[in-house]
Amino acid sequence: MEAGMVTPAPALVRFSGIQKTYDGEHLVVKNLDLDIRKGEFITLLGPSGSGKTTTLMMLAGFEVPTHGEIYLSERPIKNVPPHRRDIGMVFQNYALFPHLTIAENIAFPLSVRKSSKAETQERVSAALRMIKMETFAHRRPGQLSGGQQQRVALARALVFNPQLVLMDEPLGALDKRLREQMQLEIKQLHETMGITIVYVTHDQSEALTMSDRIAVFNDGIVQQIDRPDALYEHPVNSFVAHFIGENNVLAGTVETVERDYCRVALAGGSTVAARAVNVSGAGASTSLSVRPERVAIIPNGNSSEGPNRLPAKVQNTIYLGDHALAVLDVAGNAEFMVKLQPGAHHGLRPGESVFITFRPEDCLALDPV
C-alpha cells in the first residue's frame, strides 16, 4: 500500500490487446489495454453492457478472451483455469454455499488447499474477527441478513491471501444506508491489508468513494482511466463528463481556438469561452460541459460584464436538504441545473429571467454528443 500511491509499482495485472466477442459479430470488449498496480483499488465503472463485467470475468477465468493476453505477475494466464489463478472473488449475490455454515464457508478455500486443521481454525477465527461476526460461526447463510452475508463473502475471498480480489457489484443488492457503510468497510479492509482489489460497479458515487483509480467503460472501450478527482475535473470526453457526477450540457459550434481555450457560439446567439479539451478546430460542433456547482446565478438587474454570462429562465427549484437545485432554461437546454446553497434560492420564482455565469476554466468543450 505504501508503494501504491507514491511510486508506480510494477503492474500486477496487465491486459494486453484484449478483445472479446460472444456471437462472433459484436465485440463486447474492444482492444483493452489496462495495467493494474499492486496494492491498488481500481474500479471498472460503466453502464450495463459496457464490457466491465466481461473484463472481470476474463480476469477471473470464467470467460476466455477472443484475442490478446492477460498477465498476472508477468505470467500469461489465458490458459490457466480459474481455480489455479489464486484470485479471490466476491459475487453480486454473495454465492455463499447454503449447505455449509459460515465457518465452513470461510474455511472452504483453506480446506481445498489442504491447510492443516490448526491453521485453518486460526485463520477462520481471524477472518471472523475481522468482519466482527465471531458469534455467527455456526449459522447458515440463509439465517443472515444481506449485509452479514456480504461480509462473510468478503472474508471468504480474503482468507486465503489471494494476490488479487475481484468484486462484481458486491453491494448491488443492499439498501442505500447499508451500502454506504459497506463501502467504508471495504475501503478500510483494503487500506489495512494492502490487498489489490478490482471492483466492478455501475454506481459512480460508489466508484468515487472507494477507488484509487477508476476505469470508465463504455461500448467495450475504456474511455478514461484516472484518479477520481481527475476524472471529475478533467474528463476527456462527453461520456466521462456525463457519467461521472452531475453535468450540464450545452450544444454549440466552435468559433475560434486559441491555445487551451476556445470561443463557442450557443443556440440563442450568445458566445462563451471554454477550455478546449476535445475539439477538432474552428467550425466543429461541440458539447460544453459545466458542473452545477460551478455556476452562479446573478439576480436580475445586476449587469456587470462577466466572461461567460448567459440569460436564463427559472423553471423550477428543487429542495434537497443539504442543498437545493435550480432548474433553468439556458441556450436550448431546458434542464440546466445550478446548485444553490441552502437559503440562496428563495428569490427565484418559476418564469423569472436571470443571468448565469461561470469561469471559462470550469467550462469544458468536448466532443459533440
Binding site: P82, R84, R85, F91, A95, F97, H99, F108
Partner: protein, 420 residues
C-alpha cells in the same frame, strides 16, 4: 420513559389481539378447507377407507365365529391343556349340522384349513357322516368315531385360535411365523415360509431399480438444468414422453425388444457378437430394465427441480476459491442436490415396492414381487386375510421409510440453526 406507557398498552391489548387474529385466521382456514373438501372426501372414500378396511381385514377373524358359534362359545372356557369336555363336542355337532343345512360349512373349513392343513377334509367328512344330533353324553364318542382327528388336541386348538374376533394369524403368516399348539410364536414350517424371501426380493429389486434410475437420471437431470431453455425444453419432452404412453404399451415394447427372437437378440446375432440368443426377459434382468424405464421420470423430475435451484454462481465461487472441478462438484454441487436425490429415490423406491404389472409381464416365476401375491390372494384364492396382511406389512415398511426420509431431511435443515 416514553416507551413505558406504550408497552403497558401493548400488554393490555395482547389477549384480545390474539383472539382477533385467531378469528381472522379461522375465516381463512374455513375457506381453505372448503377448497380442498371435495378432494378430501374423494380421498376418504377411495383411499383412506380402503386402507382402513385392508388393515382391519388383516386382523379380522369372522368365519369360524359365524359358522360355529356354539363351539366357539363352548371353547371360550377351555384351558387347552387336555381335550375339551363333552359340552364342546355337543356344541360342535350341533354347529356342524346347522352349518351343513345353511351351506356355510365350507367357509369355516377354508379358514381352518389355512391354519391346519387337512382341516377341510376333517370338517367336510364329519359333516357328511354326522346324520343327527348325538344322544346327550355321546357326542365325543360319535365324533371321534367319524374322524379320529377329533380326539387330537391340535384340532381343537385350531378352532379355538380361529374363534376370533381378532387374530394375529395372517400377520404372523405374512412374516413366516405361526403359533404352535402352546400358543408360542415360532417360525412357520419351511414349505409355508415364503414371504420373507418375497419381501426381500421385492426390496432388492426396488433397490436395484432405484440405483439404476439414479445413475441414469442424474446426468440427464444435470443436462436439463444447465442447457439453455430452448434445448432443455426439447429434452424435457423426451423425459416426459413415457408419461404419455400406457404402461402396458411400454412393457409390451420391452417384450418385443428383449425376447429371444426380439430386436436386441437378432441384432447381436446378426453382428456376430453372440452365437445363441441371450435370455434377456422373463428373468430379473428384464424386470429391472423395464421397471427402470418406467420409473426414470420419477427420479429425473425431483433431481431436476433441485438442480435448477442451484445457482451457477456457486460453482464459479468454488472455482475462484481454488477448488478443482471435481472437488467443487463433490463438495458444493452434490450436497445441494441431496434433497432431490432423497425425494427421487424415495419416490422410485416406494413406487417400485408396489409394482405389479411389469414384473408380472416380463418377470419369471422367481421375480414376482409382493404385489403379485397380494393380487393372487385377493383374486384367485380369495384369502383376503393374508392378502391384507401382506399389504399391511408393505404399507408399514413404506411408512417407516417415509418417516426415516422425513427425519433425515428435517435434521439436515435444522442443523446449524439450532446450534449456537
Amino acid at each position: 420513559m416514553t416507551a413505558a406507557p406504550a408497552l403497558g398498552a401493548d400488554n393490555k391489548t395482547e389477549v384480545p389481539l390474539k383472539r382477533r387474529l385467531r378469528r381472522a385466521e379461522r375465516t381463512r382456514q374455513v375457506k381453505a378447507l372448503a377448497l380442498v373438501l371435495p378432494l378430501l372426501l374423494f380421498l376418504l372414500f377411495t383411499f383412506a377407507g380402503p386402507i382402513a378396511g385392508m388393515l382391519w381385514r388383516s386382523v379380522e377373524d369372522w368365519e369360524v365365529r359365524q359358522v360355529l358359534p356354539q363351539t366357539v362359545a363352548a371353547l371360550a372356557s377351555w384351558d387347552g391343556k387336555d381335550l375339551p369336555d363333552e359340552n364342546a363336542y355337543a356344541a360342535l355337532a350341533s354347529d356342524i349340522l346347522a352349518a351343513r343345512a345353511a351351506g356355510t360349512l365350507a367357509i369355516a373349513a377354508k379358514r381352518l384349513n389355512y391354519a391346519l392343513n387337512g382341516f377341510r377334509t376333517i370338517l367336510t367328512s364329519t359333516g357328511r357322516n354326522l346324520k343327527a344330533v348325538p344322544e346327550p353324553g355321546t357326542a365325543r364318542e360319535t365324533l371321534g368315531r367319524i374322524n379320529p382327528a377329533w380326539r387330537e388336541r391340535a384340532t381343537w386348538t385350531t378352532i379355538k385360535d380361529a374363534g376370533g374376533p381378532i387374530t394375529g394369524f395372517y400377520l404372523l403368516a405374512a412374516l413366516d411365523l405361526t403359533r404352535n399348539a402352546d400358543g408360542a410364536i415360532v417360525a412357520a414350517p419351511p414349505d409355508q415360509a415364503i414371504y420373507r424371501d418375497i419381501f426381500l426380493r421385492t426390496f432388492l429389486i426396488s433397490l436395484a431399480v432405484t440405483a439404476l434410475c439414479l445413475i441414469l437420471g442424474f446426468p440427464v437431470a444435470y443436462l436439463l438444468a444447465t442447457l439453455p431453455p430452448g434445448r432443455s425444453n426439447l429434452l424435457m419432452i423426451f423425459v416426459l414422453l413415457p408419461f404419455w404412453t400406457s404402461l402396458l404399451v411400454r412393457t409390451g415394447a420391452w417384450i418385443v425388444l428383449l425376447q429371444s427372437k426380439g430386436v436386441v437378440n437378432d441384432s447381436l446375432l446378426w453382428l456376430g457378437i453372440i452365437d445363441a440368443p441371450l435370455r434377456l426377459i422373463y428373468n430379473r434382468f428384464g424386470v429391472c430394465v423395464a421397471m427402470t424405464h418406467v420409473l426414470l421420470p420419477f427420479m429425473i423430475l425431483p433431481l431436476y427441480s433441485s438442480m435448477k435451484a442451484i445457482s451457477p454462481a456457486y460453482m464459479r465461487a468454488a472455482a475462484s476459491l481454488g477448488a478443482p472441478p471435481l472437488t467443487a462438484f463433490l463438495r458444493i454441487y452434490l450436497p445441494q442436490t441431496l434433497p432431490g436425490i432423497g425425494a427421487g429415490s424415495l419416490l422410485v423406491f416406494i413406487l417400485a415396492l408396489g409394482y405389479y404389472i411389469t414384473p408380472a409381464l416380463v418377470g419369471g416365476a422367481a421375480d414376482q414381487m409382493i404385489s403379485y401375491f397380494i393380487a393372487l390372494y385377493t383374486t384367485e384364492t380369495a384369502n383376503w386375510g393374508l392378502a391384507s396382511a401382506l399389504g399391511a406389512v408393505l404399507l408399514l415398511a413404506t411408512v417407516l421409510l417415509a418417516l426415516v426420509y422425513g427425519k433425515l431431511v428435517q435434521s439436515q435443515q435444522v442443523t446449524g440453526g439450532m446450534k449456537n
